[in-house]
Every structure is written in structure tokens, then in C-alpha cells.
């Protein structure tokens, strides 16, 4: 295929996509001349180019369509639902031929006579169309527009070259023919289309492969930066330079990542059409609301959620929203609402598909699951409503009474979940009987860089994606025998009363390493949840969490199945990225419906009760706690760096003065000792509101989570103390550290020097 044809295909497909969007909008605003000319332009362009390239079949079809659209644009015809249906069929016809061209290079020898005839018939109904314009206003508009053609009608001229605000000029009249149609739907597009036109002028088509390469290189830069940051931490004059490198790298990474981002409207835009078709097929009346279409997502992820999202929408249409009669009987608006909403929440994009339909009947789900043998009746009776809802994610589950060709073939929600989890996302479901259902897809912003926990096994580092990780449990060697229970060779751990199957990473990777591996060392259980499977992966060491850049593996190594890629750590070492779901499969961990959600709630309750994490420090033989969220860093500095303003110890950090609290008398004590040269002291640098303060301590002991203490009798939370490892520990009051005297006349630094 030559370049010209390829260019033509891309251009035409874009044109047709635009036409599709406009057509569904047109149904709502049949008089919108902007829309009409947009559609006309798309078809016209195709016709023009096909003539040039010699695609006769395409040209003929496009020409017939153009004639019809010309009449519409000139206001001689009004876009009634039959005409729009005809135009949609034209669109499908053109697309079909284009795909033949793409595959074979020729346009095939199909017959379009029926479609062309239909389009011709539609052109011959101007009289009827005239009748369809019930109000004077519409007629007026049509007359006006035919006069001022091809310029925009006066009424619509906005002060700027920007787009006239569309709804203002659209008469309400078309509502009448619309209501008569079996289904009506509205796409509330909030994005001003003027912006879209402007954007197309300032954008450039870039090869995705090139972008991938750029992303790869930026990833490389990120890794090199990490290494440089680690290497230069000791050199003062390099610190500034490396910090700048850090900033530039972060910015660059963000921009390249942005270049791969596309608005979700690219996927959302096909739903008005799907809903239109489905509502006619299923005899539903549905209004489509879309929100947050400008939310952006990585291109590859956008592709990946297309199918799950379509599936979810079909499900909502088929099982969620009831037929109008049923809705009316239930006292609801006969027209159902389907809402697509996208928004960003920290490093995730949430896409919600919600309907105000019947909701999911929990009893039905329960009955079906038992019928299909997915769960035993006894087990089902024990499950809570929330857990029962999760059953619909099991493979082979479908509640549709009859198999329709829309949904109900037993593949459904499990596919949605699998697809979303494949890209590191999560699916959540909420349903209220009689009120509706909300399906929430939680998608990571990008796949190229993922947060991961670095775990160690047998001296080798592996990266474990954070997405699947729910918690970590430490099993010290002395607790090994008690904590890890064996059931005929199957290791288990009792996690809050439930048995959690364990998989020893070492045993899996080295295959067959005696029984009871790792008996004499520290073990860490990473509790993983993936594909509805829940298990604990036992590793022998943990390192820091890192943002890792995923590098693909060669196919030989990919076929092992346990690794999704490899990455380079900040230390420069390579680490393989583990794939939790294949580990689960290989270990034979079954789908479980263990009280995941119940536990999750419990967890959050416990977290709330437990309160925050604390850094446990020791000063003057006493333990004290500092809220971990306040700790900025821990410094080990030579005593000589501590200076004094009067009696107050201060530290000069890169030109900034830091008051040091010496409650334990550590500095004083150290200063009195003369037997040791170059004494080192430990200072915990903390944040207190906007200022930073230092705490001189003897040693940093641990990080522990503390729980709040209630005052006996009053049930009030006690301030200033926390329960750490079952000991009452006092929490350091940072705001109690005296502020430095700062006067307008002296710079603080100068003051300190003077005193010295």
C-alpha cells in the first residue's frame, strides 16, 4: 500500500470518527449547522480523495451521502431520526469499505445499491421534513441560514472567533420527533468543540514507537539520576548539580509521559452510538451522561480499557436499566440514566459506569451461583451481601434470564476484572437494589513506571508491584514454628483468624528445597491479592519501595511466565519483576471469596484506631515517639557542627538555621567528653508546621504503629502518649521547641556567627 493510500485511510477514519460523534449530537440538535457542516466536510473529504485515488465504489457511496448531507446543510431537509439512522448506515458502509481497502488494498466488489437507494429515498422527502419543523423558530432559522450560507447564521455569531454556544441557538422543537422515537438519548458534551478545532491545528502526529523509545530513554535517565543522587550525596559541591538534574529529569519524564496521554473522550465518544443502537434493540430509554472526558490516560491503557468498558456499558443496558414500563411501574422516570464519569485520584484514573436501574438482586446472585456450582449452599448462606455481590466476578457467572445477543453468555464481569487487573487496575462494584449499580474501574496513570516493593530471596532482588500488595507481615525466626503452620506440606499463616495459603518464593524459584524452608532466618509475608486470589508470598528480605521502570524481557524468559519484565534499581542492580497472578496460578492458589471486603473494612477501622506510625527514639535512657509523618530525615553529624545561640543549640543546614532540642542532655554530655575525637551525634529533623526542628537523640530504635489511649473513665483520647508495642510511650511535642529569636535587624545566620 502506498503512503498516499495509508494517509487517506488514517484521515478518513478520523473523519468518520468525528462524523459519528456529530451524528449522535445531531439527533439532539437537528438544526445545529456547525454539526451539519462538520459531517458534510468529513464525507466530502472522503469523496474528493477517493475520486483522486480511484476508489469508485467508495466515491459513489460517499457522493450519495454528500447529496443528502448537502440538503441538510442547506436547511432544505431536517435531520429526522430516519435520516440519522440512514446516515449512520452510510457511516458503517464507508467504514466497511475502508477496512477492506486497508486489508487488501482494493475496495472489494460488494454491492451498496440498497444503501444508496435508501439514501436517495431519504433525499426525496423534503415535504415531510418541512412538516417535521413544527415551530416558527425552526423554520425561521432554516430560512435565515439558507440566506447567509455559507457563513454562520447571525444569531450564532459569538464575539470571538470561538464557537457559538451551541445549545442557545437550538430550538426546543426537535424534542417532539425525538420523543416519538423508541429511544432517546442525550450526550451531554461539556467540552467546547472550539477547543478541539484549535487543538488539531497545534498538534502533531507522532509514531507511537518513537514515543515508546523516548519513554524508554527517559526511564534510563531516571535510573541514572537515581544512581547519581546516591553517589553524590557525600559530595557537597555536586549536591546542587545533582539536584538540578533531579528536577530536570522529573520534568522531562512528566512531559514525555504527557505526550502519551490521551483524553478518555477518545473512548467515551463511541458510547453515544452504542447506547443508541442498544436502546433500540433492547427497547430501553436511556439518557447518557458523560463527565470528565478531558481526563487523560496513557494511550496503551486507554486501548486496554475499551473492551471492559464496553462490556460494562452493555451490562448496564441489559441487566441494569429496566424497560420503560417496568420503570414507570416502580415509580421511576421511564427514561433511565447511564453515567460515565472519569476523574483522576492521585496516581490513578477512576472510571465509573453507573446506572439508575434495578441494581443487582443479591438473592438472585446467590441462587445462580449455587445453581452453577460456583459455591456451595452452606458457604453461600454464610456470605454477607457485599461478598455475594463479588460472586458476579467469578468466571461462568451470568444472571441474565435469557441469553440475549447483548450479554448473558456467561462471559462477563470476570473478563472485565481480568482485563483491568492485567493493566494493574482494580474493579469495584456497588449496587443498591432498586436504585442502581456503579462499577468503578481504577486504572493506573501509566504502565511504564510502576511503584514496586523490592523483596529479596536467596540474595537476589525482585520487584513486586505494589498494586497487588495489601500488607506485609514479619515472622522473626523465633516465631517461625508457631506462626507458620503446615498442613501436610502446605504452609499456612493465620492472618487475623483466617488461614492464608503461603508460597515460599525461594522454594518456587529453586524448585524443591526440602521442607520448611527458611526456618532459621527472618521471613516476611507479602500478602497479595490478585484475580480474586489471595495468598502470602514468603521472602527472606525487604528493601525500599521504588518507582521502577519496566523493561521488557526476551521471549525466552517471558515464556517462563513468572516475570513480567526486569528493572534497574537505584543501586544499579537488575531486578526481575514478579508477576503475582502467575505465581498464584503456578502455586495452585484458588479463587477465594474470603471476607476480603469485610477484612478491608476491619483494616481501615484498625488503622484508624491504631493511629499513625511512630519513630521510636531513645534519649537519656528513655524511649520517646515522634510521629513518622513529621520526620523529614535522620542525620548523623559531627558534634562540631552544632553551634550555639546563647544556650540554645542550633544547626546550620545549607544556610538555614535549625533549632535543636536537647531534652536528653545528649549534646551537653557529648561536649563534656574529651576522650573521643570527632564525636558524632544523631539528630532527627522534623517538620513542625512550617518550620523544621531537630531533636538530639541517643539512638533511633524502630518504627512502630501506635494506638491511641483512652483516658479511663472519660473515654477521651489521651494527648501526648501512644501505645507502642504494648508500652505507653510519650510523644514528643514538636511545637514545644522554642522558636529562634529572629529580629528584623540581623540575619539569623549573622547573629549566630556573632555569638560564636
Amino acid at each position: 500500500m502506498d503512503d498516499l493510500t495509508r494517509e487517506f485511510l488514517i484521515e478518513s477514519q478520523e473523519g468518520l470518527d468525528r462524523m459519528e460523534r456529530c451524528l449522535t449530537d445531531l439527533e439532539e440538535r437537528p438544526q445545529d449547522r456547525e454539526l451539519l457542516s462538520d459531517i458534510f466536510r468529513s464525507v466530502h473529504t472522503i469523496k474528493g480523495t477517493t475520486g483522486f485515488l480511484g476508489f469508485k465504489r467508495l466515491e459513489k457511496l460517499a457522493h450519495t451521502g454528500e447529496n443528502l448531507l448537502g440538503l441538510l446543510r442547506d436547511g432544505k431537509l431536517v435531520a429526522t431520526p430516519p435520516i440519522i439512522t440512514g446516515l449512520l448506515e452510510l457511516l458503517d458502509g464507508l467504514r466497511a469499505i475502508l477496512s477492506i481497502v486497508e486489508e487488501t488494498g482494493g475496495e472489494g466488489d460488494g454491492e451498496d445499491a440498497a444503501l444508496i437507494e435508501q439514501l436517495k429515498v431519504l433525499q426525496e422527502l423534503p415535504g415531510e421534513a418541512e412538516m417535521a419543523k413544527p415551530t416558527v423558530m425552526a423554520a425561521e432559522l432554516a430560512r435565515q441560514s439558507s440566506e447567509v450560507l455559507p457563513t454562520v447564521p447571525e444569531a450564532t455569531v459569538a464575539p470571538a472567533p470561538a464557537m457559538p454556544s451551541v445549545p442557545a441557538v437550538v430550538p426546543t422543537a426537535p424534542a417532539a420527533p425525538l420523543a416519538a422515537s423508541p429511544a432517546s438519548e442525550t450526550a451531554e458534551v461539556q467540552k467546547p468543540r472550539a477547543g478541539a478545532t484549535a487543538a488539531s491545528d497545534s498538534t502533531l502526529r507522532v509514531d507511537v514507537a518513537l514515543l515508546n523509545r523516548m519513554m524508554n530513554l527517559v526511564g534510563e535517565l531516571v535510573l541514572t539520576r537515581n544512581q547519581i543522587l546516591q553517589a553524590t550525596a557525600q559530595h557537597e559541591n555536586l549536591t546542587l548539580l545533582s539536584r538540578r538534574l533531579d528536577m530536570v529529569t522529573a520534568d522531562l519524564r512528566e512531559s514525555v509521559m504527557k505526550a502519551r496521554m490521551q483524553p478518555v473522550s477518545n473512548v467515551f465518544s463511541k458510547f453515544p452510538r452504542i447506547i443508541r443502537d442498544l436502546s433500540q434493540m433492547l427497547h430501553r430509554r436511556v439518557r447518557l451522561l458523560m463527565e470528565g472526558q478531558e481526563t487523560e490516560l496513557d494511550k496503551s491503557l486507554l486501548e486496554a480499557i475499551k473492551d471492559p468498558l464496553t462490556h460494562a456499558v452493555r451490562n448496564s443496558m441489559d441487566h441494569g436499566i429496566e424497560p420503560p414500563e417496568v420503570r414507570q411501574a416502580a415509580g421511576k422516570d421511564p427514561e433511565g440514566t447511564l453515567k460515565l464519569r472519569a476523574y483522576q485520584e492521585s496516581s490513578h484514573v477512576i472510571i465509573e459506569v453507573s446506572d439508575d436501574g434495578a441494581g443487582i438482586a443479591v438473592e438472585k446472585v446467590q441462587k445462580k451461583a449455587i445453581e452453577r456450582g460456583l459455591i456451595t449452599a452452606e458457604r453461600a448462606a454464610q456470605l454477607s451481601e457485599r461478598e455475594l455481590l463479588q460472586l458476579i466476578f467469578l468466571p461462568g457467572f451470568s444472571t441474565a434470564e435469557a441469553v440475549t445477543n447483548v450479554s448473558g453468555r456467561g462471559v462477563g464481569m470476570d473478563v472485565v476484572r481480568t482485563n483491568v487487573e492485567k493493566i494493574g487496575g482494580k474493579v469495584e462494584l456497588d449496587s443498591k437494589p432498586g436504585k442502581g449499580t456503579t462499577l468503578r474501574l481504577r486504572i493506573p496513570l501509566t504502565l511504564a513506571i510502576v511503584p514496586a516493593l523490592i523483596v529479596k530471596s536467596h540474595g537476589q532482588s525482585f520487584a513486586l508491584p505494589q498494586g497487588a500488595l495489601s500488607e506485609l507481615v514479619h515472622v522473626p525466626p523465633e516465631r517461625y514454628e508457631q506462626d507458620i503452620e503446615w498442613m501436610e506440606g502446605a504452609p499456612l499463616y493465620r492472618l487475623r483468624g483466617n488461614l492464608l495459603p503461603l508460597v515460599f518464593l525461594e522454594r518456587m524459584l529453586l524448585s524443591g528445597d526440602g521442607d520448611k524452608p527458611g526456618r532459621d532466618r527472618d521471613n516476611f509475608i507479602a500478602v497479595l491479592e490478585v484475580d480474586g486470589r489471595r495468598f502470602g508470598l514468603v521472602v527472606d528480605g525487604l528493601a525500599d519501595p521504588e518507582e521502577i521502570v519496566v523493561k521488557p524481557l526476551s521471549s525466552v524468559l517471558k515464556s517462563i511466565g513468572l516475570y513480567t519484565g526486569a528493572t534497574v534499581l537505584g543501586s544499579g542492580d537488575l531486578a526481575l519483576i514478579l508477576d503475582p497472578s502467575s505465581i498464584a496460578m503456578r502455586a495452585g492458589v484458588q479463587m477465594s471469596l474470603q471476607e476480603e471486603h469485610g477484612e478491608m473494612e476491619q483494616n481501615s477501622e484498625m488503622n484508624a484506631m491504631r493511629g499513625a506510625e511512630y519513630l521510636v527514639v531513645e534519649a537519656a535512657a528513655r524511649k520517646a515517639a515522634v510521629a513518622l509523618s513529621d520526620v523529614l530525615r535522620i542525620e548523623r553529624i559531627p558534634l562540631s557542627r552544632v553551634e550555639y545561640i546563647g544556650y540554645r543549640p542550633v544547626l546550620n543546614f545549607e544556610g538555614q538555621l535549625l533549632p535543636v532540642e536537647d531534652a536528653g542532655g545528649i549534646l551537653r554530655e557529648a561536649a563534656e567528653r574529651t576522650d573521643v575525637e570527632e564525636q558524632q551525634v544523631t539528630v532527627v529533623v522534623c517538620r513542625d508546621g512550617n518550620r523544621h526542628v531537630g531533636l538530639a537523640v541517643h539512638a533511633v530504635l524502630d518504627v512502630a504503629s501506635g494506638s491511641q489511649l483512652m483516658e479511663a473513665g472519660t473515654e477521651r483520647t489521651a494527648d501526648g502518649v501512644t501505645l507502642l508495642k504494648e508500652h505507653v510511650t510519650s510523644v514528643v511535642n514538636l511545637s514545644g521547641v522554642e522558636a529562634l529569636p529572629v529580629s528584623a535587624g540581623y540575619s539569623t545566620a549573622g547573629f549566630a556567627e556573632d555569638v560564636q
Partner: protein, 169 residues
């Protein structure tokens, strides 16, 4: 195929720089030599992208026997094939050299003890694999050049490609 033709074909793959014709019956080729245990191996230099020294590849548990591990190479993660493992020799503890080779599926690394000098060999000295060579080696080797007092065993990068080895395993 005669011995001569095979040698010519091999050398002809190189460009003008690596091949000089003396007369019609002889072509010269440049070969990077690699000493491993008792044997001197050779890899045609036109297949070598780069030689990375002092590498310690990261092992990949559960990988096929011949995989020597992973190394970080120019922003990508390179799969290496260990020549020692291929030949069933014991692993070496010390850092090794990696020949980065180009294959149809992309690049891969050939892990060897140490890279030696580049030799110029003549097609006249080329001989096919002897028939008594065991099956495993016959698949890997691409004949040998008779040098003064020793043999230079040729390795064909195409045959060392992990994809191909993986399919054969």
C-alpha cells in the same frame, strides 16, 4: 556444499572492510577470538555490536539452562547465553565478558570468560564440522579454521540466538 563455498559464504557476509580478496580462490575474514577452557572459539566480527567487559549478569531463576542471566545494556535488558553452560562446562565465579550480538529477533549477549584478539583467517583453512562431533556441539559450531598448531572453532550467532535455543530445548 563444498567446504570452499561455505567459507566464502560466511566471509561474504562481511563488508568491504573485513574482507579482502587475494585471488578468486581465497577470501579473508576477521574473527574475534575467545578462549574457553581448552578451546579457541571465534565469532565473525561483523555480527558483534559491542563487547562489554567485566559483567556480572543477574541470574534468572527457572530460566532454561543455557541462559547466563540478564545484563543492563543501553537502556534495555539483555538476555545472555552462557557459552560455558551451552557446552556443559562448570560456571565461572569471576566477572565475564559479553559479546553483544545481533540476531533476527534483536540483540542478545554471549557470555564468555574473556575476549581475545581479532584474527584474520583465510577461507582456505576452513573445514566443516567433523562427523564425530557430538550432537549438541554439531548444532552450535559452524566449522573450524586450521591455524598454526591449533583450531579456531567458529560460532554462528544465528545458532546461538536464545529464541532458537529455547525452541530447540
Amino acid at each position: 556444499m563444498s567446504q570452499m563455498e561455505s567459507g566464502q559464504k560466511m566471509a561474504a557476509a562481511g563488508g568491504q572492510l573485513t574482507v579482502r580478496r587475494k585471488d578468486k580462490s581465497e577470501t579473508l575474514a576477521e574473527v574475534c577470538s575467545v578462549q574457553l577452557a581448552e578451546t579457541l572459539f571465534g565469532v565473525p566480527i561483523q555480527h558483534i555490536l559491542e563487547i562489554v567487559g567485566g559483567a556480572r549478569p543477574e541470574p534468572v531463576p527457572l530460566a532454561p539452562e543455557f541462559v547466563g542471566g540478564l545484563v543492563h545494556y543501553r537502556g534495555d535488558v539483555l538476555t545472555t547465553v552462557s557459552l560455558r553452560r551451552l557446552l556443559g562446562l562448570p560456571e565461572q565465579e569471576a566477572a565475564q565478558d559479553i559479546l553483544v550480538l545481533e540476531s533476527l529477533q534483536g540483540c542478545f549477549g554471549l557470555l564468555v570468560d574473556a575476549v581475545g584478539e581479532v584474527l584474520t583467517v583465510s577461507s582456505r583453512d576452513f573445514e566443516q564440522n567433523p562427523s564425530i562431533l557430538d550432537e549438541r556441539r554439531r548444532v552450535l559450531f559452524a566449522g573450524a579454521y586450521k591455524l598454526d598448531g591449533k583450531l579456531l572453532v567458529m560460532l554462528d550467532p544465528e545458532r546461538l540466538d536464545p529464541m532458537r535455543l529455547g525452541a530447540a530445548a
